[in-house]
Subunit: 486 residues, 2 copies
């Protein structure tokens, strides 16, 4: 039996951003943030997008921000649930197969008819499904209970009105009695004016869209889909389809993460790979801010000499002009950052904090806000598997939080580990291995190794196997936690 996930898994409650004990680096002495602390920091800084009025046709998948009440009763008037004849029940009380009631047909009521003639004693009106019950009538007898006005015995259908206009006149034989209200849908029997149609927070799927249309709502106030800009960094990156030079690789992250952002519900824009030049990166990001509710970068966040995202965007770089100078970077310096830095200093208003997570893959991560609107930015590591796993764990929840969804996480289940050899995991890190989950059997098998460059294996996985921080070996047959992807 599957269960929807709690955000954290195992390693204690997350420290809300800016709410941690002053002077204490999240994650403790080694400067490593826990997965949960980082996630809490991200989600704590994300506000759902401001609501807008959208045409109903554009609101699929969006979250309603206010209760919608019914203003027009559903259905708005008593109407027929069958094609047949509207009658007075006394007239057909004794009708039978051998003794049909013979009624005078006084007209035709199509769906959409306005004023209808009153049905008097001994009379009937031919009526279509959805058409308003005429005054005087108390029930509808289906056409199959009549001769359809043909005089030729029980009917199975009416003739098309265009071909047989005389069907709305003459006589009809009714072979069965009907109770008052039979085959009549009463006004308001589905919903009454003033009823709550949908509460705030409802995610609009097709049936909810249908209900809003049915009660006459042409537009609806929802949180829009977030616009997510994805850019990859790295002077080694080549656009797929182009020629690959020596020492170069194809850019895959921006394609994979743009697709993943779309799947998460975002309107995603892929920006071509940016080279490892801090000025170029800053300029590109500045250009993109206009259309971004969230920015995602990949690469350049680690400890290398060309880690451009870190160089261009780090909070330290903005706050401390001297940080660029030789000698300003000391061992331990990168432990700084986060919602609360050493000394309890709150995160700078603009700028991105780079931190190391107790996680594999995905150790180096950046998070912060940028630009005049404080647009959130997640800087993911550049290895393809690291960036994808980071997206699943941090960006996808952020996108869904922007949408105002309550359930921002992938479902998690427990499954029996199927593997020939025990899995090994580094001490103190939460490991996310790619796995093939079998729902029928309740099992999961590792796919490929732990290398963060194994994109071919990633493409064969449908789950992430979670190995907790305190666990270094997982024996075959162990029940393990699994994050279900896609």
């Amino acid at each position: 039996m599957s269960s929807t996930a709690a955000p954290g898994t195992g390693s204690g409650p997350a420290t809300p951003a800016g709410d941690g004990p002053a002077g204490q680096v999240p994650g403790g002495r080694r400067g490593l943030w826990s997965v949960d602390d980082h996630l809490a920091d991200v989600l704590g800084a994300i506000q759902p997008l401001d609501p807008i009025d959208l045409p109903l046709s554009d609101a699929l998948g969006c979250v309603l921000v206010q209760d919608v009440t019914v203003t027009v009763a559903l259905p708005p008037f008593d109407n027929s649930s069958m094609d047949g004849y509207a009658v007075r029940v006394a007239d057909i009380a004794r009708a039978g197969e051998d003794a049909p009631a013979v009624l005078t047909v006084v007209g035709d009521i199509a769906a959409g008819s306005g004023e209808a003639r009153t049905v008097g004693p001994g009379q009937a009106a031919r009526i279509m499904t959805g058409a308003p019950l005429p005054p005087g009538a108390e029930a509808v007898v289906p056409v199959e209970w009549t001769d359809g006005g043909t005089g030729g015995g029980p009917a199975t259908a009416m003739r098309p009105a265009g071909a047989a206009p005389q069907g709305a006149t003459g006589e009809v034989r009714v072979y069965r009695p009907a109770a008052p209200g039979a085959h009549v849908r009463g006004r308001g029997s589905d919903a009454r004016a003033g009823d709550l149609a949908l509460p705030a927070g409802t995610v609009l799927g097709p049936p909810q869209i249908g209900l809003l249309a049915a009660i006459g709502r042409g537009t609806v106030r929802v949180r829009p889909r977030p616009r997510v800009v994805v850019l990859s960094t790295g002077s080694e990156l080549v656009q797929p389809g182009e020629k690959l030079g020596a020492g170069r690789i194809y850019d895959s992250n921006s394609f994979a993460l743009t697709a993943a952002a779309r799947e998460a519900g975002a309107i995603a824009y892929r920006v071509g790979a940016v080279t490892d030049d801090a000025d170029e990166l800053r300029a590109t990001i500045e250009d993109q801010l206009i259309r971004a509710d969230l920015l995602v970068t990949t690469g350049g966040v680690s400890v290398g000499a060309y880690d451009v995202v870190k160089e261009a965007l780090s909070a330290a770089a903005e706050d401390e002009p001297g940080a660029d100078e030789p000698g300003a970077e000391e061992p331990g310096d990168e432990e700084r950052g986060g919602g609360v830095g050493p000394g309890g200093r709150p995160r700078p208003a603009g700028g991105v904090d780079f931190r190391r997570l107790a996680m594999q893959p995905g150790k180096p991560q950046g998070f912060g806000t940028i630009g005049p609107d404080r647009t959130p930015l997640l800087a993911l590591p550049g290895n393809p598997v690291s960036s994808y796993v980071s997206f699943e764990l941090f960006v996808r929840p952020a996108i869904r939080a922007l949408m105002g969804l309550e359930d921002v996480h992938r479902p998690r289940v427990r499954a029996e580990l199927r593997t020939d050899e025990a899995l090994t995991s580094p001490e103190g890190r939460r490991q996310f291995l790619r796995g093939a989950y079998d729902a029928e059997k309740g099992t999961v098998a590792p796919v490929g190794g732990s290398g963060s460059h194994l994109v071919a294996a990633l493409a064969r996985a449908n789950a992430l196997i979670v190995v907790p921080e305190g666990t270094t070996t997982v024996e075959p047959g162990t029940e393990t936690e699994v994050v279900l992807l896609g």
Copy 2:
């Protein structure tokens, strides 16, 4: 434990279209088609769309039509998995915390570097994650195992190259030995040239898109998303947001089904409601054919005098000029139709067959092909619940079959019925009641009644409760079949 559904449920194997016993009407004497027979007829007539080459960015969710093999090894060259120093292992074999190996730094290798200097005995090259291993080097030592060239003890990071260009020269102290190949990702260790990257039939999710990008594919041959045109019929229909006149209701079907088609993976176009005029409907459909891979109509398929879809599109109307004339429609006439009509006559090449299904809701249905390209058309009943349930059971699988997906059906599970009173269902009909499924408890409760106008209840449901044809009463606590929606 949930399971993916088999297409049919319970009532025997489906009769493939055009393959039934000659002279036998599917469903037998009463002229009712089973749900399974109708579904088999629809799916039997649907061909997956012809494949096209799509840019990778547009291929999310599409199905690959040919095997994709790896042409460039992944990774394409031996490269570093860490930021650090490329070394010869003999030079650092006896390195220790107190006795570091001191190597001459001969240069800097950033990711994307082409030709690199050979690393000779006693030398090292500073190297970044993803950068090609230089000639002569056998392993990489992470920067954290060195002094980072600072002479100041173990380092935690490199200085940004822009700020500290001298990092690529001078000396570096290495505090630990490394084995050959340490922190090196070998060429082809993820995938080798000639390997099968993805087999035909793969559904392209984000990781698969990423893999295709990684091996340099800028475009990919897939089946496109089907273009689905949805139109509702009925003179009573008013566009949401406009004023509702007497006897009129808002058009909800076209909104709900367009949304549902999008959710199923289609590119969906909503056409405004068409009045009950056969010529107007034919003209509208003709106009829409140009952009339709599949047409869906709602309303006008039953036995009423204004059932315009049936009037405008029925195969009989096209085949038999006399069918429009009075007297041509006899009792039992509507039993005709389907893949094999009475007398084993195959379905007319163009035209839509209207039939009754042993189903509630959704008894009247039409299916066929139309126009010069034999575009498939499903004509659904007009009641909102009927049309939505019909969409789920027949149109969604059709859309997914057009996409070339193998798994076209919603998942089905078994759940315990939670209800105060027994459910009742008409004899001989397969009933689909709206339900609220609780995955945690494995239970399902009916939501609203069986009325096919109850759209408010539909909007609170997440499942359909299936009551088989032979069952007329379902007691509380019974294990029942449930179709999971959304």
